[in-house]
Each structure stands twice: as C-alpha cells, then as structure tokens.
Amino acid sequence: MDADCASLLPGVCAVLAASGRSLPDDTSLEKLLDWFTGLTEAGGSLLEACPCLLEFISTVVLNTAVDPGVLSFALRLTGLMAATEDGYEKLQERSVLDQVFQLQRWREAGLWEDPCLRIGWILGLRSMLQHPKALCFFVQSDFIDPLLQLQTDASLFVASAANQMLAHILLFFQPVPSLGCNGVDKKEEDDDDGTKRASAAYAAALAAISGYLKESLVPKKYTALRQSLQILKLLALLLAAAGPPLCDGLLQTAGDPLEDLVAAGCSQLTLPLMDVLLAACSSSGFNQRVPDQRVGRLLSSMLDVNEPADLLHAAAAFLRRGHHSDVVNTTRAVRILLLPLHIVTGQTLLGTNATADGRRSSAVEQLKCKTSCISMTCVTLTNAPRIALLPLGVLPCAPDLIVTAVLSLLRICSGVSSSSPPGCGEVCRNVIGSGKVQKCALEALTALDGSPGATEKTSEVFTVLMQYLENPDSDPTVLHKSYQAFVKWTGVCTDLSFVTDQLRLDLVELVRRRACDMRWEVRDSTVEFLGQLAGLRASAATTEGTASDALLGARCTTPLLKEALQDAESYVRASAVSALAKSLTHGWQQGAAPSEDEKEIVSRLLEILSQDTEGFPRRAVVQYFASWFSSSASPSSAPLLMRCARSVLSQGSADLDWEVKVHTLELAQLLLDEAFSGHRGYRKVSDAPHPRAAVSELTRAPRASPEGAESDLAAAVELGVVAALLSGLVDCDRPVGLRACRLLMALRDAVCPPGPPDATAAVATVSCELPGGGGWGEEIRKTLGVESGEGGARVSVCEALRSLGLDERLDVLTRSSDHVHNSPLSLLQDILTASAAHTRADTQPGEEVIVDCY
C-alpha cells in the first residue's frame, strides 16, 4: 500500500464509522473490499499495514445504528483479516471475532432481518475459514446450525452463499492425507493438540451436516421442495469435488433419502437429482473405483420414471455428462431420447417392436399437447448429433437413420410430407409450421454432417434443404440455418454424383431470386452463403471437382455479388464485399492476373471506401484488400494491388470509423511484414497481451543498421504506410493508437535499432512528409518539436521514430482508459469528498431555510 493511501485510510474509516450513507455510490464498499483482498492475496498483512481498520471494526460493531451495509462490510473485512492464522490470533486476542460474528447480538439488535448483514456474516466467515483454528472457532461458536438454516433463506443470494459455504467447509478441510494440504490431519506425526481439536471440529461439522442431509433431503411436504432442491445442489457441489472418504460417507448418508426421492418422482427435482447422481458417478470414475452400485441403480431408476418429459430431460442430462462406459444406461438414455423422433416421424429408429414399449403410449399422449410436443422434439433434436456419434453398440439403429428421421421431421414441419405416420396425425399437426422445431432440426442436421454413414444421405439432405430455401414462408432465420446446413454438407460431399444438373440449376435460380428478396436478412444470408461456398472452394486442397465448385461456380456467383454491392442495406453491401474476397481468394493464391471483372470490382470497392455512408461496408472493403494482400503469392509484384493499397491506406486512415482505421493498420502491418520480414531486427507484431516482452528482448542485442533497410523504408513511405502509422499514433481512439504504436516500434527496431544514432547511415536519409493544417501532421510536429511550416514539413523517419517516445506512449495506451479513476487512491478520495459534500449539505439547508423565510 502506498503512503498516500495509508494516510487517507484513517479518514475513510472515520467516515464509514460515522455514517455509511454519504458514500459516493453503492459499489464503493465492494471496491474497497476488492482492494483489501488484492492486498491480502499479495501477501501483505492488513493488520500491520493499517491498524486503523481494527479500530474501525471495533467501533462499528458496537454501534448498531450504523448502516447495515457498512456493518456487512465490517464483517467481511474481519473475515479477510482473520484469513491467516496470524491475523486470526491477533483478532482473537482483542476478542473482536466473538463480537463481530456473535449472532445473538445481531438478532437482538434486529439487524439480522437485513439480508445484507446475513450475507456479510456468511462471506466474512467464508473468508476466515482458511485454517484449522478458524474451523475450531466456527464449530465451537455453534455456527453450523444457523448456517444450515440460512441454506433455505428467503434471500436467494444468502441461500446460495450458505450452500457454497457448507460445501467449502467439508471440501476444504476434508482429510486427504496423500493429496491435501488443507486437511485437518495433514501432519500425522505432529499430532499435537491443535490438530486433534481441528479433527474433532471437522468431525462435528461433518456429523451436523450429514445429519441435516439425512433428515431434510426428502421433503416432508410439497412446500419444502426448495430445501430439497438446495440440499441436492449442495450434494452435487460436494460430490463433484470430494475425495473418496468424504464421497463414500456422503453417499452412505444420503443413499436412503436419495432412493426415496427418486421413488417419489417429483418433476421439479429431476434435473438436480440427475446432477447429484452424475456427480457421484463421475467422482467414482475419476478415482478409478468401481462405481457405487447403488448410484448405478438409482441412475437406472431415474431413466425409468413415468413422466415422459422428465424422462427425456434425465436422459439428456445423462448423455451430456458423457458416461458412455455405462453401456446399459447409455442405451436406455438413447432410446428415451429418440422416442419422440421415432413417434413424430414414424421412422423405425427404435426397431419395429418399439410399439410394444409401454412408454410409447404415454409419450404419444404428451406429444399431443402442442407446447410439450415442441419442447420434447427440440430436446431430442439437440441431442441427435451427439447420439449419432455414439458407438454402434449402444444405438438402436444405424446412425444414418437418425439423419433420415431428422430429414423426415423437416419435411413434416414444412407441411410437404405426403403422409403422416399412422395414428400420429394429431402429433404431426403440432410441429407443422413450427419455426422453433424447424430451427432445431436444421441445427441438428448441420451438426449431423460428420456422423457415420451420413454422406450416403447427401442427396436427400440437399433435396430437403432446397425445399426449405424455396419455401416462400420460411422465416429469415430458418433460411439462414438452411444455408448453413447446405454449406456444411457441401463441405463433406466428396461424391460429385450427388450434385445433379437439376440441383445445380435449381440452386442457381434460387440464389438469384433470394438475392432479390424483400427482406434484407435474407439477401444478407444469401450473399454470405455465396461467400461461404466460395470459401470452401478456396480452402479445398484440390481446386478441381469440389462439390461447391460444381454447385455454384464463380461465373454465377460474381455477378450476383457485384449486384449486391449496390444493395440498399449496408449489412448486405458489407457481406457482399467479404463474399467477393472469399470468391476471389483462389485466384489470388494462384497469382493470376486480375480480370476485367476484378478491376471493375476494385474500382467499385474504392468507391465504397470513399463514399459509403455506413461503416460496415467500408470496414469490409479494407479487409478485402488485406485478405487479397495476405493470400497473394507475391503481393509486391501485383501492380493493381499495390496501387490500391496506397489509396486504401490514405483513405482508411482518414476514415471517421475507428474500426476502419484499425483494419487499415492491419493492412499496414501486412505491408510492413512483407517489406521487413527479411530484416534481422524486425519482429512481427502479434496481438499478444505483453507487447513489452517482444521489445525488451530486442534491446538486449543492439545491431547496426541492417542492409537494404533504406530502400524498403523508402518504399513504405512511398506507399503511405508510415503516414498511416503516424496518423494512427495520435488518433483519439485508443485501439488505433495502440496498434499504430506497436507497429511503429516494430519498424523502429527494424530500421534504426537502439544505440547511438548514425546520421550518416543511408536509412537515416529517408524522410516522410508531415501534412500541415491542424491534422495529425501538426500533432506529430508538436511532439517532435519541428518548426511548423506553411504547407507541411519533412522529417527523417528514423529521427521521428526515436524521438516520438513510443515506449512511454505504449505504457499509457496499454492501460485502460479509466485507469486513473479506478485506482484505490481515487476511491478513497471519492469517499472523503462525498462525505465532505454530504456534511456541508447537511448543515447548509437549515441556514438556507432561514434565508428563504426572510
């Protein structure tokens, strides 16, 4: 803690003790606590550093008239100070702890009613419980029972904190001789009195909590459900992290009540129960032990409850946790999850004898209700891709049948299915036209592209997706998802016989029409789709014979995208620019000379950059050139590209949108990388969080000016890279300044390494123009102390790089913009100022009233 803060702290304590009401805002106390926590974690002792805090606590806890918020703060602060054994003992010496945490006092003062105080009490104790002595104190003070009561507190925050605290006690102090460092019996040879006491305390706590679990887990009546819910949460927390002895003990204790709960089959408890059982399973799995047979049995009975919706959720939870070694239960869960799909689509996912399944009739009943039908179908669909990837042994059908079922569901949803499964007309009716099911099914289909045997279904998938894309009633989101699925399946399609002429013609016709759609979202998705298909083409290892190429060649795509550059909606224009970049990438990689078409596109893009009123298309244009540059085999030998780079740099760095400027700097970086990557001193700037690391490494080995740097630097100046960087450096947007600063430092290290400047070196003669007229040139000139001329001034680049104080600037820029306001000092000052203002405000009104009376 610095001296300034130390000197202000007593004043602040006084203010807080006097009255907490004058705080500048309600987060001040939290911020103070954060600061103290930080100090404690850094290894400092609060007691030694600021003795005034102890004073503060002693005064405040005696004064029950203080704001409960401040009292709560004092409780938490006490806990923080008692977190080390040292601190604990000191506080104990002055018997502060008893005073602070004694419940009776708070209850008598009527303050216990305030949830703020209750949570302060819990969190204070929680901070303190970091060593065995604290545990002994906790147990001896009989705090376990009140804590257990707080577990069902009316305030959700209090209840949750209490739960966390209970878990902390049992987990933190659990006796784990081999692993633990916190265990109460960690030093067996050093079996002194303290340890014995701590063991006894832990045993007492464990006994109390276990007793409570056993007693209260099964709800006595329906209203006590919340308590069961809380206990289940606690159990899940404990089982997920407990070592074997504790785990076994807990399961021993909670086994019977858990069985009762499972037998009761209460819907609201299904998921928390599953959590507990699965946590029990995985903890035993983690310890490589034979899973508790009882847990396995309970899991089986959970997967056998009567309520179809609960069953489905339980099965989904089981599958999500991935206990796939449990073949019996996995098979069962899969069958449960596939049942709704089996019923709705009539696909024999579960085999032909599934009709005999007793569950089927109750599931059909449930599916006849529209809301539960939709929710159950969606649960099934969400899990379908995971199921399809399971080993064949646990699947009731071939994985490709799942794809078929999803496709058939999609057909039913859109109303094009020619028939409905016998007896399920009423069920099918619930999903016809349901946007939610359509979206879920399309997502499932997208994720099913990698399932075994799926490629055989490609042609069927294309047919269904085309139906969706053709359907005039499809919602824009549904269309978007259909496009996504189409791209994904095209990506895995290796057999070109699936791409029939009819499909190709239909798709061409479709994208042409959708590119004229009234809804911009649809036009945007369409344009994006064209880009993604083209992207598949570019990323494929072989350029010939990819499915995406066969579906939509550039001949169809490019005119549509060119048209979309003129779209009325800026998002569509931006997407069109990005899609064009993707569709041309392949040509760039090949180093082909730009076609007439491409030249036309380029001039249109430059027009957008200079004239478009919206930021998105302009950002996309700059990115277009950046991706052209980065995918080009030898960018410097592409004259059109280099010409464009120059205008993009000059226009982009003068743009009003800061993101355009950042993207422009990305292009500048690419140009720098290209020009200087051969130089020894040059290090590519990455977006690593510690830019200083790269720089400091360099400074260790000063080198002479590298050869050839002069011409490269002159070229960079000529292209406008240096001007773009300099203008970015003084930009008022921090991300722009930061990036420019890093790039300039990289450039500096490459062309004029640290050491005494060599004025005669050729590189020092390269100069750049600083424009006049109050812009960034003016600012740079001021920093450099160059005389301001009429038009502008030329400065040596090396000179400028050395004298701009880049390192200091980087320091300032890397700090967040509110770093000044967030300092502890400013927080303390704020509290004091607010208090002073408050006091004045308190005294003045009286006088003013008198004045007013006259």
Partner: protein, 649 residues
C-alpha cells in the same frame, strides 16, 4: 329456418336464408372458372390461335370443326366464354325479399338474379362494394363486347357428345345452364336496385328481422352480415381477413352470441402465406427485370393490386428498379385507382389518418405522379406509343381467356426472359396457361389470398362461440391433394353442418322467444303485489293480437267467449316448472325459492314481454310460437314489475 345453397363454390357463395317470414339471399357470386374451357379471345388477330386444329374424336365420328379446337393435347370451346351461374331451379327467385352483398367479388352474378327472374326486392351493399363491383362488371362486359364472336357453340353441350369429349370438358357439370356475359344495360338495371348501407347500420326488414353489415377486413367496403330478430341471431361471415392491408379491420366482437354462423369465403390457398407470397412476387419481379425480361401480372382491377403497388412502391428503390415502367391496363384502370383514394372512411386507420395530412392514402398516387406507374384503358391508343421494355404490366383477366392479358401472352410467351406472375388465387395457373402451350416464358405462382385461414378461423370461432356453424363441405375435410393435413380443415364441436350446391338445410335451432307488447290500459289494470323490495308480480289475462310480425296483448273483451274446455286442458300440458300463479301469490312458495326458479326458468322457458308504456316486464310461460299462430288466444301471464330500475330481468 332453412338455408338453400345455390352455389357450390366456397368463396363465391350464393345462399338463401328463410328466417321468420323473410327470404334473404346472401351474396350472389359468379363462378367464372368455366371460362377456362374456352379459347382465349385475342384483341389482335392471333395467327397461332386461328390455326389451331379442330378436335376430332378418335374414331372420327364426332367432328365439331367449328366448336372445338385442340391445343397441346387439350380441347377448348371456340366461342364467347360462358359462366356457371348460381342454381336457379332450387327455389323461386322472385320470392327473394332482399340480397345482402358482402364484397364486390361476390356480386358478379347480380344481373342474372335480379333481371328476368321476377325479382322485386332490394339489394343491400356498402358504397365501395357497389362502385367497385360496378367497375368489375363494366370491365367484364367491355372485355366481352370488345371482341364479339358471332357464333355461339352449343352442339358440344349435347349430352351424348359431351360424354365422348376428353379431359375437363367431359366432367363439366350443368353445362346447359352456362350463360354468356350480361350486357351493360342489365348491369345498370341490376345496380339500380342497390340500396347503400354503412357499417353497423341497422336495416329493418318487415319488422321481423334486422340486418346489419360489419366490416370484414377483406376489401374496400367488404362486410359480414348480422341477421337478427329480438331473440335470434344469425351471422353470415364471407370473405374476411385479419391482415392489416388497406381495408378497415374486421369487426369480430359483433359476431358473438350467434345461434347460427354461416361461414364462407375462407382462403383458397391455406398453405400459402400472403406475406411470403408478396415477397416471392417482389423477388421474382426484380430477378426478371434485372435479367432484362418483362413481367406480366394478370390481375383484377381492384383489390390485391393496391397492395401489390404499395409493396412495389417500397421495393423498387431497394431493388434498383427505379427506372422500370409499370403499366396498369384495364378499361376501368383510371376509375379504380381514383376510387381507392376517395373511399377514405372505408380504409384502415393508418390510411385514414393520411387523408387529414392531407396526403393520398395509397402511394400509387405518387407512382403516377412520378411517371413510374402509367395506366391505360387498353393496349390500343396511347399505350402503343409509350410502351417501353423491359416493363411490368398489370392487366386482366386473371383467367387469361379475355382482356388485354391475352395480347401480352401472345407477345411475350415465346421468350424465356419474360415472366408471368399469377397473384389471383381464383384460377389454377396450369389450366389458365393450357391454351398457350408450348410456352417459353417463366411462370411463377404466388397466389395472394388474404382471407381467413383455418388457424385464424378456429381462433375466431373459439372467441365468438356460435351455437352452430354452417359451411361449404370443402371446409370439413383436408384438401384432396394433402389428405394428411388435418390442420387444413374445420374441427368443431358440435361438428359444422356442411352444404354443397343444391343443398337445403334445416338449420338446427328452434326459436323459443318472441317479443310481445302490452297495451297501456291493460298494463294499468294490473295489480302487482310486491313480493320482495323492487320485485312485484301480477297475473294478467289478455288477448294476444298479432299483425305485421308484431304481437300485442290487449284487454280481454268485456264478454269473453266461454273458454272451451279444450283450452283449459292445455294448461296442465305445459311444462310443469311453473304451476298456476295462485299458490305463489298466496305465499305458498317461499319467495327466494320462487325467484330461484324464475332465474332457472328464464333461460329456457319464460318469455319476456315488454309493456309499451312503462317498461314493465312480464314473464310468461306460454309457448309464443303457438300463440302467434292462434291469435286471440287466452293466456295466463305472471307479471313482474321491475319498478324504478326499469331493466330487463
């Protein structure tokens, strides 16, 4: 109460309701799908059509060279097109008292009904319905008369010959009743019988029933009708829409508490959502124009075209179609565009408020001003000199058998750059295109039908809860092509009563109540005794007099004829819920119990009478229908005075 169903077309209904003593015709739609069996009427001589081969039967025995032509495997009648009229034999049309018209599409058969049938009644319609209906009739007559055909083909209608014909001609029913178009004179005469009504205006028919139109939301001035007597209510729902396009929104709440609801005019395209179709329309249009082709939109000259133009108005700038000309060609194009702007009070709130700005409610005014939309009465004249391609043409008739559209089909059909976009749902587009095959131009089917779909109508019925629903049989089963779509039909409890052409339905509700007035002197003679504060009872003996559907209780003549024993006998025959008044008035029945009985009985037995002079009310256990028939019958009434509150029981 009976319903005579004269049309089998669910959206072009023609039903006659006999209710109390009145005969009310509900709509008179004209089924024009019959024209699809005829060859198109070209405005300009068409070598292609004139060179079509005559149809000859396989064995060569039938050769109607003049009458039947063959095109792309289908046979067409080469004659002036004819329409399928509503049934005229089921009941004597001269007995129809009134015709209620719900919208301009459902009145196209009016001249066939009101002229040459002895009809002497009145037609009720709203003003826009009348005016736009007149335009559509005028247009139809012009289309026909402009291209007169000397011959009229009748030989093919011969049963023996028709049996031998191929395709749809063989299956056409009632071909002998098909009629050519009416004349302008008949139109004028028919429309002169129309009396204008406004929404919610109540029209008394012979003192027996009251009819009142309600906004139905489907087109300008479109209405549903309420037909009610004092105690019965029949709702007639025809062509209603919940979509917020240009017309006033649908009035749903007034349909509540109906005894019978006659439901017609649901959407013909239950699976095509109008919004989606409108989107398809725009994107296909833009795609064609961008590729340098022309777009042909066969449409009626009023209705959906306003919405299409409004949608395009917003779309053309977005889609960079700013310079493409839009042509609207119809003999009544000008009137239609102008009428739409002046019926402000019939428009939705949004459009009404524009009138006060003042701005034209529809944006097509601006399209016309900026020369983006041009309208012509025909392809002849100015149009030919200003015609510029690529362009978009809106013109009729949607059947593609007559009107200017025939010319554009001949002109543009050969190029695959051009597109025809069907937006009217009335005709199958494949049948419409049949005489133009082979056809290179692209065809897009975007039927826009804004009328209620099955989902909306089930919700509506759940809300208004009619006791019985009557509807065309087509609505009681899923469409034939989608037999598994049980969501595309009406499922009600009790199930709806289906009808088809020529059905006569006995509507399943018995009238239970009748309003009877009591003369002041008789009322004065009553001696009510208060049995509870504010509730008084009295017995009354009177003569029931009935004239002009109005029933009055008069004092018993001084010397009443000796009551025949037969009459007395009737009293114990009455349902015994309320026995004679005597024990009641003597206090034998506790008051509370009696009032409870009264409450219970009121719902099903007691007739409510209203006293003319002082709004005192009477409960009567008499079956009034009988008493109406037996005038001057003695009745015993139990009277209850509502005292100062003067409210109904």
């Amino acid at each position: 109460m009976k319903l005579y169903c004269l049309s089998g077309h669910p959206t072009l209904p023609c039903n006659v309701l006999k209710f109390k003593s009145t005969t009310i015709m509900l709509d008179c739609g004209l089924d024009t799908t019959s024209v699809l069996n005829f060859l198109p009427l070209p405005l300009v001589h068409s070598p292609r059509l004139s060179k079509l081969p005559s149809w000859v039967s396989k064995d060569g025995t039938i050769n109607l060279e003049k009458e039947l032509k063959e095109c792309a495997g289908r046979v067409f009648v080469d004659s002036q097109p004819e329409f399928c009229l509503p049934e005229r034999e089921l009941l004597d049309l001269s007995t129809v008292d009134v015709i209620l018209v719900s919208n301009y599409h459902c009145m196209m058969a009016l001249p066939y009904i009101t002229e040459h049938t002895g009809f002497t009644g009145t037609v009720y319609a709203t003003e826009p319905t009348l005016q736009i209906g007149r335009l559509l009739m005028e247009e139809l007559v012009t289309f026909m008369e402009r291209v007169p055909k000397a011959q009229s083909a009748t030989c093919w209608k011969n049963k023996e010959i028709q049996r031998m014909l191929p395709g749809p001609l063989k299956d056409a029913v009632d071909v002998w009743t098909w009629k050519r178009s009416y004349s302008m004179q008949e139109v004028n005469s028919a429309l002169s019988k129309v009396q204008l009504v406004g929404y919610s205006q109540k029209v008394e028919l012979f003192g027996a029933v009251q009819v009142s139109p309600l906004s139905s939301g489907y087109s300008l001035g479109s209405s549903n009708w309420i037909i009610q007597s004092h105690h019965e209510k029949v709702s007639y729902v025809s062509g209603s829409s919940l979509l917020t396009t240009h017309p006033q929104p649908m009035d749903q709440s007034s349909l509540k508490n109906s005894d019978v609801l006659i439901l017609t005019g649901l959407t013909q395209m239950p699976t095509a959502n109008p919004d989606g179709m409108l989107g398809e329309f725009c994107s296909n249009l833009a795609m064609t124009i961008r590729a340098g082709g022309n777009v042909l939109v066969p449409c009626y000259s009023s209705g959906v075209i306003y919405d299409l133009l409004e949608c395009l108005y917003q779309f053309i700038d977005n889609a960079n179609l700013g310079t493409t000309p839009f042509y609207f060609i119809s003999p009544v194009a000008n009137s239609s565009l102008e009428f739409s702007q002046i019926f402000a009070e019939w428009l939705c709130h949004n459009k009404q408020s524009k009138v006060y700005l003042p701005e034209p409610p529809f944006p097509h005014a601006e399209l016309i001003q900026t020369n983006k939309l041009k309208h012509y009465s025909s392809i002849h004249g100015d149009f030919s000199s200003e015609f510029r391609q690529p362009c978009v043409v809106f013109t009729g008739h949607p059947s593609l058998r007559f009107g200017d559209v025939v010319h554009f089909m001949e002109l543009w059909g050969k190029s695959s750059l051009n597109t025809i976009i069907f937006t009217e749902p009335d005709f199958s587009y494949l049948d419409a295109l049949a005489p133009y095959q082979p056809l290179a131009m692209k065809c897009v089917y975007c039927p826009i039908d804004t009328r209620l779909n099955f989902h909306q109508v089930s919700k509506l019925l759940k809300e208004v809860q009619p006791l019985h629903v009557v509807c065309p049989e087509q609505y009681t089963q899923p469409p034939q092509s989608q037999a598994h779509r049980s969501d595309l039909m009406l499922e009600l409890h009790p199930p709806p009563m289906p009808y088809r052409r020529c059905s006569v339905l006995n509507l399943p509700f018995r009238r239970r109540y009748e309003r009877v007035y009591i003369l002041p002197e008789l009322a004065n003679s009553l001696v009510p005794s208060e049995i509870k504060p504010g509730v008084s009872l009295a017995t009354v003996s009177a003569v029931l007099h009935s004239k002009d559907n109005k029933h009055t209780l008069q004092s018993v003549p001084k010397a009443p004829p000796a009551p025949p024993s037969k009459k007395r006998k009737r009293v114990p025959e009455e349902p015994p819920v309320l026995l004679g008044p005597k024990p009641l008035l003597s206090g034998a029945v506790p008051l509370e119990a009696f009032l409870a009985t009264l409450q219970k009985v009121r719902r099903d037995l007691i007739v409510v009478f209203r006293i003319m002079s002082c709004n005192t009310f009477l409960c009567c256990k008499n079956k009034c229908e009988e008493s109406v028939r037996r005038n001057k019958q003695f009745i015993t009434c139990r009277a209850e005075s509502a005292g100062r509150t003067r409210s109904w029981l």
